[in-house]
Each structure stands twice: as structure tokens, then as C-alpha cells.
Subunit: 681 residues, 2 copies
């Protein structure tokens, strides 16, 4: 047992994750649920409100459609959960939607899914943080009065945390998520008890308001369209469901089964909470409008632009618990926290997807290497910058941002499920065992229905949301798609250019001798070391080379060379214009011209320094020279480092950086298991 003082730390950070190296911790279901479900569960904080908000366009009477819309969302949720249960069984390697689409539908579908997911990560950050700020704002008015500022501040905070490499901790996720889930359930149960058993009349803060319908007496096609729009908005509850399918390797064994069970639990929790909130919102007469300033009316007067429309979850909590009571504040805080955690999952998912895309050469290769802090940081900054831009453009208004959100999710749902159908078709073509065949046929039916239903929703979303903002998300996808295609094309072209010839080349064309040149400016320890190393290399000829920039210094160098009796001949190049690079490059070229079959090896003594500002003071000409020399074929450039005392600082810093391990490790699972190749069922 650890010391008692460790307990708070263990609760906050999670000891096992801190001390162990990545990959040695697997998640039990009770931890996996909050880790993977904070994103989909948190969406019940905004999805029910969006449904009411769209319905209000046809006036308050349209609210009676809300149970039907809730029902449609529930059916969709079950369909998606059932479909992804097939995914986690078929791809226990954690191949997410990208891999399923890529393997079964080809690279173009894969890249489309990847683009959709990248856009989604950006929107997850923007939407979750905006909604979190709105929920926090229902308890703390200052926050909602400075929405954009506060949302940006949370983005900056999350970004800094992730850049510094604060590890994701299962327990850190567990507490707010369970508090949130427990709070919502308590609210539903207590609300039902008060209403149905005690017969209390609970009234939401907005119950007295009237709604000024934008379109009176909608009917026929227009009504259907409105209901479809409301349904599309409700589909926001489904965002993030696919996350578990990426994280199968992080589960304890039996991995696939545990992941499938967790998925079902998550679906069940989400629909219960979603329906409960919609039910209570109807019962407590929550009134929400798309344009509250003009369309909400109190005593015959529009509420005006100062009116703040609180999220539906906080209005219900106010009705059930009473505004400002302890449970009300706890639920508001837990809701905000879970939403911020949901945003944080994007910070972890973005580089993970980036690393998979990098392996397929759609993104720079260095993203593939784990623990490449620089690459990771670039990804994080790109994500945060894009999210911040959206938050600023859309005034941190979750309702406006959600219009962009859902299209990407359903693009990847649809393509992934279609891919699964292909997957089963492929396996059925070879499978003989009737029991397994039956199982596969069942799975295929589920995935086919999933593909059909999510595809239908995608069409609905595109039709109802395109002009409301979905085009922005599509534009983002196109940009990602085009960029990744261009990168892949570049890598392919280079790979072709450098492919080794099938047969070993004619030996007569090979270089035959090496002429080594040690660059010398002064006779100090770095130079002496470079000379000593150069002698060890036993090249065919060896000379030292200096550029005469200052005649006095050159003379002193030549004299000391003689005095020390250095056996290597010293050649001095004249440089009337005090240049260094040009005379050396020209000399090396002349060597190559004289004997084109020889290789020239240029050996440069280099200082290794510790501080960034020291770089400005040293090695600049060496670096530039090196850059120039590398353009000449038949030249190789060797750095012989001389470690100055100050380099110790940098060495320690480099070591510290290497110990660093990217956030998001928890949900990736051990590296050995990840990505061993395409899925095997």
C-alpha cells in the first residue's frame, strides 16, 4: 500500500498511469466507459435543446412532436451501437472507421472518412467547449457574458495542458463523468417522482414565455422538413459513439467482448438520459427558440438581445432542483467538466488518427513515430487554432456550431458501415462453417441496416443543414482531402524516384576512392578532434582546408600548423570578398571535376551548445556550408561534434523530452498490439 498522502494525487492523476510506461495498463470496463463515453454522453447536454429549438420555429404546439423525434434518435442510436458492436468484433486491432473504409472500400473512401474525422475533431473541441461555457454560464453569469473570451481561454488551457504532455488518466475521466451521469439520473428520477407521485407542478424558468412562431401553421412538406431538421439536430447525441471502435486494444481481455459491452452500456445510458431530459423539458414547459431575442415573448414583449437562453439541461435542473440549489450547481459544474473532457478527447484522437494517416503516407511520416513531440505539438496547435477560429467566428454559440458538426459524423458512420458489409461479403465468400456463416450473415444484416439508416440520416442532414453551416464542414473536408492527396502523391513520386534498381548496378560506375577534406578555421580542440577522427577513417587522401578571410589570422594558423608538426597538409583558399561558403563549394566542385569517380568527404568540426541563443553565435557558417555542399552529388558531409560545457543543459533537456509520452495514450492501448495490419474477424 502506498502512503496516505499519495491518495489525493492518485485520485487526480492515477498512479498506475504515471509510473508505468505506456502500454502496460489496460482499462477495466468501469474506467473504459468514462474514458470513451465522455464525448457521446456529454452530447445529451445540448442535443435535446437543439430538438426543441428547431421545433419552436413552428410554434410551441410543435413541441408535441418531440417524443417522436426522441424515439427516432433512440432507434438510430441502437442501430449505430449494434453496428459498431460488429466493428469491434471484426477489428479487435482498433481499426477505426478510417481503416474499415480504407480496407474494404478503397483508399478514396478511407481518405474521405479521415477528412470527415479530422473536421469532426475540430468541431468536437469547438462545440463541446462552447456548450460547456453555456452550461457553466447558467450557474456563473460572468462566464456567459464573456462567452467567446472564456471559451478561448478554455481552449488555450487545454492546448497548453496537452502540449506539456499531461497524461490522460482513466480516473481523471471517471469522476466527472460518473457525477454527471448520476446527476442526470437523479434529476430524471426526482423529477418523475415529484411530478408523477407527489403531483408537484414544476415549472422551468422559461415556462412563462410564449413563442412567436416564425412559420404559423406549418403543414405538409414544410412540416416534414422541419421535423427532419429537428431530428438532424437530435442526431448530435450520436457524436463520438465510434470512439470505442478505435480503442479496442486498450480494453482488458476479452477485448472485443468488453468493448462491445461498454458500447451497449454507453448507448443505453445516452438514450435514457436523452429521453429523460426531453420528457422533463416538455413536462416543465421549457421554452427555447432559434432566435430567442425576437421569438421569445414575455407579456407580449420580445425578450430582446440581452436575453440569455440557458441550455435545456440547466433549465430542467432549475425546475426539478430549484435554481441555485446545491444539486443544480453541482450538475452545472459536472456538465461543463464533462464537456471539457469531451473536447480533450479530440486532442488525443487527432494525433492518433494523424499517426495512422502518416503510416499510409497521407501525412508527414514523422507523425507516425510515437512520442515525436514536435509533430504532436504541430497537430495540437493546428487543432486548437482551427477550433478557436470557429469559436470566434460563431461567437461560441453551440447552436450555430452544431449545424456544422453532424455531417462529418454521418459521413464516417455511413462509409464505415458500408465497408463492414463488404467485409462480411468478403469473408462469406470463403467461410464454410455454417454456424460462423450464420453469424456473419446476421452481422452483415445489422451493418447493412446501419449503413442504410445512417446514409439516410446523412442525406437528411445534408438537405436540412447545408445552408445552415454544413457547407463549412464539407469545405473543411475537401481541404483536408486535397492536402492529404497531395502529400501522398509527393511521397509516391519520391518513392518511385529513389526505388532501388532491380539488379545491382554495374560496378564500374561505383565510386572508387575517397578524398577527405577537414575544414579548419583555428587550431583549437574541436579542430584537433576532427583531424584525429579524419585520420582514423583512412580515406585515400586527406587534407585540411582553410579560407583566408583575414591574412593575419591565416598566417598565425599556418605557423602554428608547422610548429605543432601536424602531418596533414594544410591548403588555404583565398577569399577576396571575405566569403566562406563559395570558395569551399567551388574547391570541392573542382575536386569532383578532376576525378569524377572519387567521393569527397568534407569533415566539419562543430560546436554543440546548450542554449538557443548560443546557436545564433556558433555554427552558422558550418550549417550554411553543409546545406550548400549537400547539393553536389558525390559529396558526403561529416560533423565531428565538440561538446561545450553548456551542451550538458541541452542533453538533459533532450533526455527529458524523450521521456515524454504523448497524451491520449490511455485510449490507444499498448503499442505492440496496435495496427498489426488490416482486421481479421
Amino acid at each position: 500500500m502506498s502512503k496516505l498522502t499519495d491518495v489525493p494525487k492518485r485520485i487526480l492523476i492515477g498512479r498506475a498511469l504515471r509510473s508505468d510506461r505506456l502500454g502496460e495498463t489496460l482499462l477495466p470496463k468501469r474506467i473504459a466507459l468514462p474514458v470513451f463515453a465522455s464525448d457521446p454522453l456529454s452530447s445529451v447536454a445540448y442535443a435535446p435543446g437543439e430538438v426543441l429549438l428547431v421545433l419552436s420555429i413552428a410554434g410551441v404546439s410543435a413541441y408535441h412532436f418531440s417524443p417522436w423525434i426522441a424515439l427516432a434518435v433512440v432507434v438510430l442510436m441502437f442501430t449505430v451501437v449494434a453496428s459498431y458492436r460488429q466493428n469491434v468484433h471484426a477489428y479487435p486491432s482498433g481499426g477505426g472507421d478510417y481503416e474499415v473504409a480504407n480496407t474494404n472500400l478503397g483508399p478514396k473512401a478511407g481518405l474521405t472518412v479521415a477528412s470527415a474525422l479530422l473536421v469532426d475533431y475540430v468541431l468536437t473541441v469547438a462545440v463541446s467547449i462552447s456548450s460547456g461555457i453555456e452550461n457553466l454560464g447558467s450557474a456563473v453569469p460572468f462566464v456567459v457574458e464573456h462567452k467567446v473570451f472564456c471559451a478561448s481561454a478554455v481552449i488555450v488551457l487545454l492546448t497548453l495542458m496537452n502540449l506539456r504532455g499531461v497524461r490522460e488518466s482513466g480516473k481523471l475521466f471517471a469522476i466527472p463523468t460518473y457525477v454527471f451521469v448520476a446527476g442526470v439520473f437523479l434529476m430524471i428520477v426526482w423529477g418523475a417522482f415529484r411530478g408523477l407521485v407527489l403531483g408537484d407542478t414544476m415549472r422551468a424558468p422559461t415556462a412563462d414565455l410564449e413563442i412567436n412562431p416564425e412559420h404559423q401553421g406549418l403543414a405538409g412538406f414544410a412540416l416534414v422538413f422541419l421535423l427532419l431538421r429537428a431530428f438532424s439536430s437530435g442526431c448530435a447525441a450520436l457524436t463520438g459513439v465510434e470512439a470505442i471502435s478505435n480503442g479496442v486494444p486498450a480494453f482488458r481481455k476479452p477485448k472485443s467482448r468488453n468493448a462491445a459491452t461498454t458500447l451497449s452500456m454507453m448507448g443505453l445510458l445516452a438514450v435514457t438520459m436523452f429521453c429523460g431530459i426531453i420528457f422533463l423539458a416538455t413536462a416543465t414547459k421549457v421554452r427555447m427558440a432559434e432566435n430567442p431575442a425576437a421569438d421569445l415573448v414575455r407579456d407580449g414583449v420580445a425578450v430582446g438581445s440581452d436575453y440569455v437562453q440557458n441550455p435545456v439541461i440547466s433549465q430542467v435542473a432549475a425546475a426539478v432542483f430549484g435554481e441555485g440549489t446545491f444539486p443544480f450547481v453541482v450538475l452545472a459544474a459536472a456538465t461543463a467538466l464533462v464537456l471539457f473532457l469531451a473536447a480533450n478527447t479530440a486532442y488525443n484522437g487527432f494525433p492518433l488518427l494523424g499517426s495512422i494517416l502518416a503510416q499510409d503516407r497521407y501525412l508527414p511520416r514523422q507523425l507516425h513515430t510515437r512520442g515525436d513531440r514536435l509533430a504532436f505539438s504541430n497537430g495540437i496547435v493546428l487543432l486548437a487554432g482551427a477550433a478557436m477560429l470557429l469559436v470566434i467566428i460563431y461567437g461560441a454559440d453551440s447552436t450555430r456550431l452544431i449545424q456544422l458538426y453532424i455531417v462529418g459524423v454521418f459521413v464516417s458512420f455511413t462509409l464505415s458501415q458500408t465497408g463492414m458489409v463488404r467485409h462480411w461479403n468478403r469473408h462469406l465468400a470463403t467461410e464454410k462453417d455454417p454456424a460462423r456463416r450464420r453469424h456473419m450473415v446476421r452481422s452483415r444484416a445489422i451493418n447493412a441496416f446501419g449503413a442504410f439508416f445512417t446514409g439516410l440520416v446523412l442525406v437528411v442532414v445534408l438537405l436540412t443543414k447545408f445552408t445552415h453551416g454544413a457547407w463549412v464542414a464539407l469545405l473543411g473536408m475537401v481541404i483536408f482531402y486535397a492536402t492529404m492527396t497531395a502529400i501522398r502523391r509527393h511521397y509516391d513520386r519520391v518513392a518511385e524516384e529513389i526505388a532501388a534498381p532491380a539488379e545491382p548496378t554495374d560496378d564500374s560506375l561505383r565510386p572508387s576512392r575517397v578524398h577527405s577534406v577537414v575544414l579548419v578555421s583555428k587550431l583549437h580542440r574541436p579542430t584537433l578532434r576532427a583531424l584525429a577522427y579524419a585520420k582514423l577513417m583512412r580515406s585515400d587522401s586527406l587534407e585540411a582546408l582553410s579560407v583566408n578571410v583575414d591574412p593575419a589570422e591565416t598566417k598565425a594558423l599556418q605557423e602554428e600548423w608547422q610548429r605543432r608538426g601536424i602531418a596533414v597538409p594544410l591548403k588555404v583558399l583565398d577569399s577576396p570578398y571575405r566569403e566562406i561558403t563559395r570558395p569551399i563549394v567551388e574547391y570541392v566542385k573542382s575536386l569532383r571535376r578532376e576525378s569524377p569517380r572519387d567521393v569527397v568527404s568534407v569533415i566539419i568540426p562543430e560546436y554543440v551548445v546548450g542554449h538557443w541563443y548560443e546557436h545564433l553565435l556558433h555554427n552558422q557558417s558550418a550549417l550554411r556550408l553543409k546545406g550548400r555542399l549537400l547539393f553536389s552529388p558525390g559529396v558526403m558531409v561529416t560533423s565531428v561534434p565538440y561538446q561545450l560545457e553548456s551542451s550538458e543543459v541541452a542533453r538533459k533537456r533532450a533526455r527529458r523530452r524523450q521521456e515524454w509520452s504523448a497524451p491520449g495514450a490511455v485510449r490507444r492501448g499498448p503499442a505492440e498490439h496496435a495496427r498489426k495490419g488490416g482486421g481479421e474477424g
Copy 2:
């Protein structure tokens, strides 16, 4: 003879300078005068006005002191010119004030002068451009209404021109400078003719205004202080006089004599113009005030904050030629142009001084190399940034900026002249020839008087201007001084650390063998080339090293290795966390531990690409690995470049950059002659 169509180009750019390489063109006096004198001559555009402006504090009656102040400035100018004539004879190498002070008074004095000059360059840009804008504004009202914007735009334009490497051309300088000088002389002569011969009454646009004196009836000490302040302001006419002493090598032979003659001509022109303008300003009743809005009164009412106080030179031109007439507009344009050229001289002088300071290790060494575009650019951007900051802070108000200007000039005047006295003392101690001794004694007397007089002025400037802004300039000097001292200390510490031991070290401690390691990721042309080169180097042992990031790829690599029958053994390092750097660094360290006397040579195949974005896609892990390996002693790192087709672009770009030659070359003269060591008289 060249073609006729070349003529416009030749006038604009100067053919000789464009086609010849730097250093083969020497300046005849008629071109040297405008090149070096645009700065001091242009200052007559603002210096006379500053005198009147300060005097106005005591009311318009104090204007009758202006001839006396002009006289004092003339005496000072002759003193300074006479002193610097000694400098150019004693230091034909072009040792400027920095070198004179450094050689004769020691490094601290030298560094003080250098700091003062660096601050001066910044202020030359800020003051000249602000004044140029004001002069242009007297003809084009838009310009003066958007002073800060226009001044910033000119700074940006000059900066871009200098960054792009537009060469300074003698002829480009000659035309505006001679037009300006001719214009001012024409104005003086015509004004004198109209006033004295024709008896016309010429009235400046401000002649009708009354001045509300800030201090009525000043007398005694207060009056003396005011007169001293006015004199200090008038000393602005002397800025830039020292420039010729830096440029002696650029003159035709006999260099020193030609430089001295040019200096005298410049002094004569400057004082004539200065006095002529003050005389005409008094005669045409120009009225200027330090705070024109409140202190200038028209018909008993203050002119208010909309009033634009035009420069004295344009007011005089309006009185003599008539406002808006052709000569008026030409003179305004020529004045502005000469002032912009004066600002441009700072862009050329700053890097020149930087290169000298770099040779003495007060600034990063790479600044010393000629044609180092990057270093040059950094200097230019620093200069432009600082000048822009001052222009914005001081609202592009030349009067306020001039308060900062003069202190630096007189710091370097005083120290340089004191250094010259020491110079003659040193030479007199050994000189025997009576004729030469007489000459030296005379020179010493001139320099001693110069040192005394400029020192006195420095004290006056400090006393009268400190609170008006001179403290800012002093602060700037302190910052430069401290930075350069720190850089020098760093270089000294490193030099000590790396100094070669006096005796060759014990041979038994030397490395004895080389173990070469070629890094391999795939078997493509770059790898094959690296292997071929590594074999040529004949190290004591050679192996290939790969990191197993993806088992399938590693297996393919091993199979192809066998198939091709490559004689070098291939070692594969496991990397459970998909890292590359760490396993390699640890392997190299283990090699070093096993045989500490051996050297490890790590050979890395590298791609050479052409576009910046390609760098993002290649070599990132190689670069990082290299950075890490260099921290280990006993390791050398060799890059074997493979030039991709796209590298041709970069090669061409690099060649083009190398052809580039830094602006300011004209005034530096041929490089062979510059800085052959401390001055010899």
C-alpha cells in the same frame, strides 16, 4: 559605347556597379560627395527650424539670437571637419570612430562609440524619414495628414529594397543630392537678390502669426540655458559628418587627400545652406513654436490642434518662390528624396559596423562574412523595427525625435577625437623627423580642440536635452553595450574552453578504431549510395542498422537484404513504442561503453529536396536523430545526400543567393583594402 536604350537604366542603376563585382569601382569625388553627404546635407532641412523653434519659447524677440547660434554651429562644423580631416589622413583604412576609439582608448571606449553609432543609425532612419514626410507634406497635404502611416510605409519600402539587395548606386545618390543643393542655393541667391537688390518684401506663410511665449522676458541663467538648448538643436546639422571617415577605401587615389577634400566641401556646403536658410527665415519672418497649437496665435486666437507647422525650408521656399510654384514643388520633392536617401545610408552603415563588431566578437561571427544574406537581413530587420517603433511612439514628429538624436553623435565625436589625441601622442613618442613631428603636433592640436569642443557640446546636449528624450537614446546605448559585452564574454569563455593544449596530448588517449554504422529504413537508392560510400571509407568495422517500427516492413527489408546479397551485416533494433531516436542513441551509447576508445561513425542517408514544404515531409527524424547523437562524445555523424530531382530548384536558388551582394557596397570600397588592421598614419 552601350546602346541608347541602356541610358535610362544606367542613370537609374549605374551600369558599372551592376555588372562589375564589388570592389572594382572606386568613387570620384563628384560621386563620393553625394554618397557620403546626403546625411549631413539633408539635416539642413530640419536643423534651422529646430533652432527657431527653441528660441520661440522666449517669444519672437529671441529670434534675434539666431545669427549667433548659427555662428556657433558654423564654428563647431569647421572644428569637426578639421578634426575628421586628421582622421582620414591617419586612418586611410577606413577605421571609423569605433576603430579610432578602440585602438587608442581601449575596448570599453570602442564599445561605447559602437553603441552610440548603432543607436544613431536607428535615429537617422526615424528622423530623416519623419522629416522627409513633413517636407513632402508641405507640397502634398495628404502625406502630412497620415504622417505615421506614410513614414512607416517609407520604412517598409526601404527595408524591402535593402532586403532584396538593391545595390547602392553612386549616380542614384548624385541626382537628388545635387538637385537639392542647387535648389537651396538658388533659393538663397534668389531670396537675397529679391530682398537686397529688388527690395521685395517676402513674407513666409506664418509671418502673420504671433508667438505666445511660454516664458516671458527670460534673462540671466534661464536665457543662457535656452540659448544652449537652441544651439544643441542646431547641432543636428552635424549628424553624419563622420561617415566619410569610414569610407576612405572607397575613394580614388590619393584616397586620404580626396576624402579630406570631399569632407571640406561637404562642410562648406552644409554651413552655407544652414546659415542661408536661417537668414532667409529671419528675413521672411518665419514663425515656429514648440507647441504650435497653443503658442501660435492668429488674430488673437490660438491656431489649434489642426494647424500643421511646415518645415522652415518649405516656408522659406514659399516666401521666395511662392507656394505651389514649380521650384517650390521641386525643392520639396528633392528635400524629401535626399532625406530618404539619408535614411538609406543607415541601412548600409548598420551592417558594415556590424561586420566590424563581429570581427571583434562583439556580435555573432557570421555577421563578419560578407554577403551573408541571412545575417544582413537580421540586421536590416532589427534596424527597421526599432526605427518603426520610434516613429510610431513619437508620431513621426521630427522635432520630438531630434531630441534623442544628437547625444549619440556627440558621444562618438568626443571619444573619436580624444582617441586621435592619444594616437598622435603615441606617434610623437617615436617620431624623430622634425617636419613630420611639426605636422603631428598641429594635427594633435586640431583634434584636441575638436575633442574639447565636441565634449563641451555633449555636456550641453545632455544638460539641455536629457529630460526631452536624450535618456531614451542613452538607454538604447546601454542595451547595445550590455548585449555586446555579453556576447564577447561568451565567445571568450568558449575560446578558453576549446583552446588547444600547448603540447600535443598523450597519444594513448587518442581514439584507436572506427566503428561505422549505416542507418537503413528501406532499401532504396539513397541507402545504397550511403552503403557504397561507407564501404569506401574503410573503417575498422561496418554494419547496417535498422529500427523495427513495423514488423512487416522490417521483414521485407531483411529479405531484400539477403536477396541482394549485401555484404554488410544488418542489425535490427526493436522498438516497442515505435520510436526511432531512442533505440539508435542507446545502441550507439552501448557501443561506446563496450569500447570507449573507439569512435562511432553514424552514416545517415539524407534526401535533398527543393521546396520548403518538402522539408516538412522528409528528413525530420534524421535531423532530430543527428541533434541527439551530437551530444555523445566520440560519435561523428555523416550525411550522405541523395539529390531528388526537385533539389535542382534549391540549388539554383542557393546559387542566386550567393551571387547576391549586400547593399552599401559602394561606400565600403574594395574588401581587400578594408580592415587590414589598426590604423597606421
